[in-house]
Every structure is written in structure tokens, then in C-alpha cells.
């Protein structure tokens, strides 16, 4: 039982963003997709969520072929996501941001395929419980747009988890957060790991990725470069090269960053290279 990408490719005009990518994501684990800018990480998320159509190949969730469905049908199957740039409903309250996730479940049978009709009481109970879990109960009635950025990020996370989706895609959950907030976010995501759920992260912050992932998939130029445990990825030469260039170039970077390193591992290097 899993989300699988089978020989998936995506072209934008002449640009090949993803080349023959095959991956399997089992439930019960946290996966990270990393890679240099332009490697195709977000493209993967957008294809799985249905924002992009695949050029070739198939994406499956268990027995369902996801890649031929419309975006909202994919979400109904149980693939939820967050966005690189926050996409909350700013003019609605925090509670309402969660409530709309249950819109389809709340419809009369005629408009809803299967399942029972969710009552308002059930809906509010689920949402309030979720707000409590994500420490948002105190701001339930505030407008989402009025929250500080860090809490907006948490709210978007809550919105992705409130429906108990078996697959959750997190597109840069730590982007824009400070060090403390990032730590908090890592702890929170780790605590959301469950046996009936696969969490897939796209993230630049290597500390976060390395601390919580069960498997890290490294993309480069739209292809899978390496896939393995955080430790294995950290040690892999091909990965270091993709991020930092050849060994010779790496030496230069080392010299440049000498003395400026605050935390070990790839993060510091990657930081230098990116900025």
C-alpha cells in the first residue's frame, strides 16, 4: 500500500524537468526530496497533487491511478499538501480554514460519493481537536491573514493534516522560519509520523531534513541521483558533487566557509552555494 511514481517524466516545452523518475513511498515513514535549485523537487510535488499533468508515466496511490485525475479528485483520494508560498484563506478565520476541508463530506448524499454525511457537530469537533493538537486553539476565531508568519505556516500544516490524509506533501515547510521556529517545525513534523500515513517533504533546510527523514531522495537535473538514509546521503560523493561541484571546487568553498561554520554537515555548504 503506497504512493508510487512509475517512469514519470515532465516536460515544459523543450525543458525536461523530470526524466523517467520511479519512486515508492510507503506509509509509516517520512521522506524528503532534496536537490539543488531547479532539480525538479517542486515539480514532483505538483505532479503528485495534480497541479501539473505528467507528460508520461503513471502515478498511483494504492490501486488508483492518480495521474489521470483532476486536482480535487486527487485530494479526495487522500493526498493533501502545503504550498511553497503560503496559500491560506486570509480573510477567513483559522477555524474556517480547517472547516472548508470537510466541505465535500458535509454535502447531502446526492453530491457526495460514498461515506456518511458529516454533521456540523462532527466537523467542528474534528477541527477543534486539530487546532488543539497544533496549538492554534487560542486563535481559532482570528483571521488567518492576521496571524504571525510562523503560526500561518503551522496553520497550513494543520490544514494538510486535518482530514487524516494518507499522503501529505509538504512543500518547504521551514521556508522563511527562523532557527527556533524551524526546530519547532521539525519536532512537529516528526510527531506527525503515523503508520497509516506517508509524509513527503521538499525542503532546503538540511538540518531539518536529516533530523526527521527515514529516507532522503536526491534529485539532480530531473533525475534520481541517490536515495537512502540521511547518513548514507550525507556520505555520498555524488550528492556532494551535485550540491557543491567537483572536489576542487569543494576545496575553495571549504576555505571560504572556514570559521563561519556554525553547524556541521551539508547545511553550511549548501547555504553558501545558494546565496
Amino acid at each position: 500500500m503506497a504512493l508510487t511514481l512509475e517512469h514519470v517524466s515532465k516536460r515544459f516545452g523543450s525543458l525536461v524537468a523530470i526524466k523517467d523518475l520511479s519512486l515508492t513511498f510507503e506509509r509509516g515513514a517520512i521522506y524528503s526530496i532534496i536537490g539543488p535549485n531547479g532539480a525538479g523537487k517542486s515539480t514532483v510535488v505538483n505532479m503528485v497533487a495534480g497541479s501539473y499533468t505528467v507528460t508520461s508515466g503513471v502515478i498511483r496511490l494504492d490501486a488508483h491511478v492518480v495521474s489521470s485525475l483532476a486536482k480535487h479528485q486527487i485530494a479526495r483520494l487522500g493526498i493533501s499538501r502545503t504550498y511553497q508560498n503560503l496559500r491560506l484563506f486570509d480573510g477567513m478565520s483559522v477555524l474556517e480554514n480547517l472547516e472548508v476541508c470537510f466541505f465535500t463530506d458535509s454535502l447531502p448524499g446526492l453530491f457526495r460519493r460514498g461515506g456518511h454525511r458529516m454533521t456540523k457537530v462532527e466537523r467542528l469537533k474534528r477541527c477543534h481537536a486539530c487546532l488543539h493538537d497544533f496549538n492554534l486553539a487560542d486563535v481559532a476565531e482570528n483571521l488567518a491573514g492576521d496571524l504571525p508568519y510562523g503560526r500561518q505556516k503551522v496553520l497550513e500544516l494543520a490544514r494538510a493534516f486535518v482530514t487524516d490524509a494518507p499522503v501529505v506533501l509538504l512543500d518547504e515547510p521551514a521556508a522563511g522560519l527562523n532557527h527556533t521556529e524551524t526546530k519547532e517545525m521539525a519536532r512537529r513534523i516528526a510527531s506527525l509520523k503515523r503508520s497509516d500515513r506517508a509524509i513527503i517533504l521538499v525542503e532546503h533546510d538540511m538540518d531539518l531534513v536529516m533530523s526527521i527523514s527515514d529516507r532522503v531522495d536526491v534529485l539532480n537535473h530531473g533525475e534520481l541521483l541517490y536515495s537512502g538514509s540521511p547518513d548514507a546521503v550525507r556520505r555520498n560523493e555524488k550528492v556532494q558533487e551535485a550540491y557543491l561541484g567537483t572536489a576542487a571546487e569543494l576545496d575553495i568553498v571549504r576555505k571560504l566557509t572556514e570559521g563561519r561554520r556554525t553547524s556541521g554537515g551539508i547545511r553550511a555548504h549548501a547555504g553558501v552555494v545558494r546565496h
Binding site: 480535487h72 485530494a75 496559500r87 484563506f89 486570509d90 476541508c101
Partner: protein
């Protein structure tokens, strides 16, 4: 303390009574004023209906009057000598709402994937197409001459004759429609519409079929438009294409914007202003429309969010009344 509670409750009751009395006393005015009041109520209902699409779902519909026309001609066809069909008024009211909704869905299906102004222009085109068709399908609609001598509407055997009769009918319908729309706004459907207005793609990402959601908004608002059209044509006992021009569609949109988008209280204020203003300006003779246009521009430049602040909506008013009544201890 007890005394002030008593005073406040009395004040509330008196205010409500005065409002009710004012509404009930309108028919005591000369018929001209009653007709203006009828007109205001018609536009309030239309604007509340269109507001579902424009204010809640955030889709600009510039051809709304087409649904009103569909309703009006439904009555003209089914209650006149045109085809010698004479159905009862209330039945036609339901049929009119149904045909309106049907027209809304027929228009909606192909065009709802369009965004923003492209949707606006397509709805505008649809409105114009309906009007031109009515204007030219002589066999069916008598073209520009329109259909006259429509049946007098009866409700349970009681004939609706005077503007006063229609005033009460419209008043009831206004209250029913406003109430229904208010509850819809607060329901999960209303919340989904607001989400749609804020961010269509994120809404789809939550598993919501946004096309269905838009279609629902179109159908419900078109049904309200259709039903109002039936009453309009029963009231006039005459329909012709010139009642359904693009300018009429714009007027309904104007009422929504000038009152405050998405706000039922604002819509009432907008309708009162925009319907009474031309009547008041009668003294200005040919300068009437010039002044009307200037007032529009000045009002919107001074109050870009509409006359009524977004916070002062029907929910707010109801909460205020509840607060005054139920928990008199808080100040």
C-alpha cells in the same frame, strides 16, 4: 442596573417596532411612492441573488439580468393570451425559479473554467444574446412590442392588483430570500464560496470540486433572478426586451458594490440609494443623469469599500440584538 436593562430592552423593542411600522406604513403613501418601494425591493432581491456569485464566490457576472428576463418571459408565456396558457401565479413562480436555475447551469457549464474578466465578458455576452434573441424571436415574444395583457396574479384566489399588494408580496419574498441567503452564507457552502473567492487553486487542492461550487452559486443566484422576474412581469402585466438591457445588469452590480460587496445590509442601502436617487433628481430635469453619475463617482471615491462597512453586516446586527436581549448584564 435593572432599570438600564429595562430601558435598553425597551429601546430595542421600540426601534424594531418603528422599523416594522415604517415598513408596514409604506402603503399609506401615495401610489407613486409605493411603486418606488416595490422597485427598491425588487432590486434588493436581485442584488442579494447576484451577490451570491459576485460577493461570495467572487465571480463577476455582468449578464445577470438575463435570468431575470427568463423569469419574466416565463410568466408572460404561461399566463397570457400569447399561447393561451393560464397557469396559477405561484406555480409559475416555481417554474420561473427553475427555468432561471436551468439557464444558469446551461451558461455555467461551458464557461466556468474561465477566470476573472473573461468570465465577466462571457456573462455579458450571454446577457446580450438573450436580449437580442427576445428582441428578434417575433413568433415567440412579439419582439420589441413585448407581450401585453398578462394575467392578473392571484395567490390562493386573492387577486394581486395594487402596488400595495405587490409591496407585501415583495416584502415577504425579500425577507425569505435574505434569510435563506444569510443562512447559506454561514453554512459550510458559504465558507467554501469564500474560500473559492480567496484562492481557487488552494480550494481545489482541498478536494473541493470548484466547478460544482461555482455552478451552485450560478444556479441559486439565477433561480432568485428568475423568480424575481416572474413577480416583475406579474406586477407590470407587460414585458418587453427594453427592461433587460446591459445597463440593468450593471445597475444590479452597482448596487452590490456601492453598498459593500458581500454584505446584505449594504445591498439594501445600495438599492435604496440607487433607486431613489434618480427619482429625487427628477427636479433636475435633463441634468438628472449627469448628477447621478457624479454622485456615483464621488461616493465610491470617498467610500471605496461601499457605504456600509464590511463589519456591519446582517450577522453583526443579529448578534447585537441577541446581545442586547439575552445578556443584558454586559455593557
Amino acid at each position: 442596573m435593572g432599570k438600564s436593562v429595562f430601558l435598553r430592552r425597551t429601546g430595542l423593542i421600540v426601534t424594531l417596532l418603528v422599523c416594522v411600522a415604517l415598513l408596514v406604513k409604506v402603503p399609506a403613501l401615495p401610489p407613486y411612492y409605493v411603486r418606488v418601494a416595490d422597485s427598491i425591493l425588487i432590486y434588493i432581491i436581485l442584488a442579494v441573488g447576484l451577490n451570491i456569485v459576485v460577493g461570495y464566490a467572487g465571480l463577476l457576472d455582468l449578464g445577470f439580468i438575463a435570468f431575470y428576463a427568463v423569469g419574466a418571459y416565463t410568466y408572460a408565456f404561461l399566463a397570457s393570451g400569447q399561447f393561451d396558457i393560464h397557469l396559477p401565479f405561484l406555480i409559475i413562480l416555481l417554474i420561473g425559479a427553475g427555468t432561471g436555475a436551468l439557464a444558469g447551469i446551461l451558461l455555467g457549464f461551458p464557461v466556468l473554467k474561465l477566470r476573472g474578466d473573461y468570465l465577466a465578458i462571457v456573462t455579458l455576452s450571454f446577457g446580450e444574446i438573450i436580449r437580442i434573441l427576445i428582441n428578434n424571436a417575433d413568433d415567440l415574444t412579439n419582439g420589441p412590442q413585448g407581450i401585453a395583457a398578462l394575467d392578473r396574479a392571484r395567490i390562493f384566489g386573492l387577486p394581486l392588483i395594487s402596488p400595495t399588494n405587490f409591496y407585501f408580496l415583495l416584502l415577504i419574498l425579500t425577507i425569505v430570500v435574505c434569510g435563506a441567503v444569510y443562512f447559506m452564507e454561514r453554512s459550510i457552502l458559504g465558507k467554501a464560496w469564500r474560500a473559492l473567492r480567496e484562492d481557487q487553486d488552494a480550494t481545489r487542492g482541498l478536494g473541493i470540486n470548484t466547478t460544482g461550487l461555482k455552478l451552485a452559486a450560478f444556479a441559486i443566484s439565477a433561480a432568485i433572478g428568475g423568480a424575481t422576474g416572474v413577480i416583475f412581469s406579474a406586477f407590470q402585466r407587460f414585458v418587453s426586451p427594453e427592461s433587460f438591457t446591459f445597463q440593468e445588469s450593471l445597475l444590479v452590480v452597482l448596487i452590490i458594490i456601492i453598498g459593500g460587496v458581500g454584505n446584505i445590509v449594504g445591498i439594501a442601502a445600495g438599492a435604496i440609494l440607487l433607486i431613489i436617487l434618480p427619482e429625487v433628481l427628477h427636479f433636475a430635469a435633463q441634468y438628472r443623469l449627469l448628477i447621478y453619475g457624479l454622485v456615483l463617482v464621488v461616493v465610491i471615491v470617498l467610500r471605496p469599500n461601499g457605504l456600509i462597512p464590511p463589519a456591519f453586516n446582517l450577522g453583526h446586527v443579529i448578534r447585537k440584538i441577541q446581545a442586547l436581549w439575552l445578556s443584558p448584564s454586559n455593557t
